[in-house]
């Protein structure tokens, strides 16, 4: 049973054209994270939500935005994708303090 679902699995967008990636979870977890992972690198945290409280990493570009309309869904918006934004984008959730993370399968973003 899929628990953290990311759509689409693969996304191709044009340079500068806004794109939205989505994540949904059936776990009712309080905390949701967005990570960026480039080839052969560790995942890099972009932002996270603790319930509705949004936490932005200091080095996350302004080009990246996020929305969490309810507990189950979280969106990553890239306003003007550049070639350097091509990566795997991972969503993760956790129930909160004392629990591990569950990752989705990721969305592979290609910028052409």
């Amino acid at each position: 049973d899929a628990m953290v679902i990311q759509n689409p699995r693969y996304q191709v967008t044009q340079f500068g054209k806004p794109v939205t990636l989505s994540c949904s979870q059936t776990l009712n977890h309080n905390v949701m994270y967005w990570y960026q992972q480039k080839s052969s690198q560790a995942p890099k945290l972009l932002f996270h939500y603790y319930d509705k409280d949004f936490n932005n990493e200091a080095d996350t570009p302004d080009n990246f935005q996020s929305r969490r309309p309810n507990t189950s869904f979280c969106f990553l918006d890239i306003r003007s994708p550049g070639l350097g934004d091509a990566a795997m984008y991972l969503c993760a959730t956790t129930r909160g303090p004392g629990y591990g993370y569950t990752f989705g399968s990721g969305t592979r973003l290609t910028v052409v």
Binding site: S40, Q41, A42, A92, T94, G100, Y101, G106, R108
Partner: protein
């Protein structure tokens, strides 16, 4: 600042051998140390995790060894199989406190190849 250093970057092991991946951390506030396994095109999956009140944790063929004084921990994969070929990430987090300062900090990753 890289707070979790992982080595080696890549590892090749024969089937049936022992795979050992090492990590060292700097932040003494870390008190939860998971290992993640990632196959190509998939998200990381939690493999095994340890807290520093124990020095070793074993789950099947996977063992974490933890040395609090040295601020090091390692993953041992016994009887390595070709199906274990994947990228392994160690990580660290301040357990039990969900603040903006307690996200997972990942190591750089180790690409493990187990030859048949």
């Amino acid at each position: 600042q890289q707070q979790v250093k992982q080595s080696p970057q890549s590892l090749i092991v024969q089937k049936g051998g022992i795979s050992i991946i090492n990590c060292a951390y700097e932040n003494t506030a870390f008190d939860y140390f998971p290992w993640y396994q990632q196959f190509p095109g998939k998200g990381p999956a939690l493999l095994i995790a340890i807290r520093p009140d124990v020095s070793e944790k074993k789950e099947g063929r996977f063992t974490i060894s933890f040395n609090k004084s040295a601020k090091q921990f390692s993953l041992h994969i016994m009887d390595s199989q070709p199906g274990d070929s994947a990228t392994y990430f160690c990580a660290a987090r301040r357990w039990g406190e969900e603040t903006s300062g307690s996200r997972l900090t990942f190591g750089e990753g180790t690409q493990l190849t187990v030859n048949p």
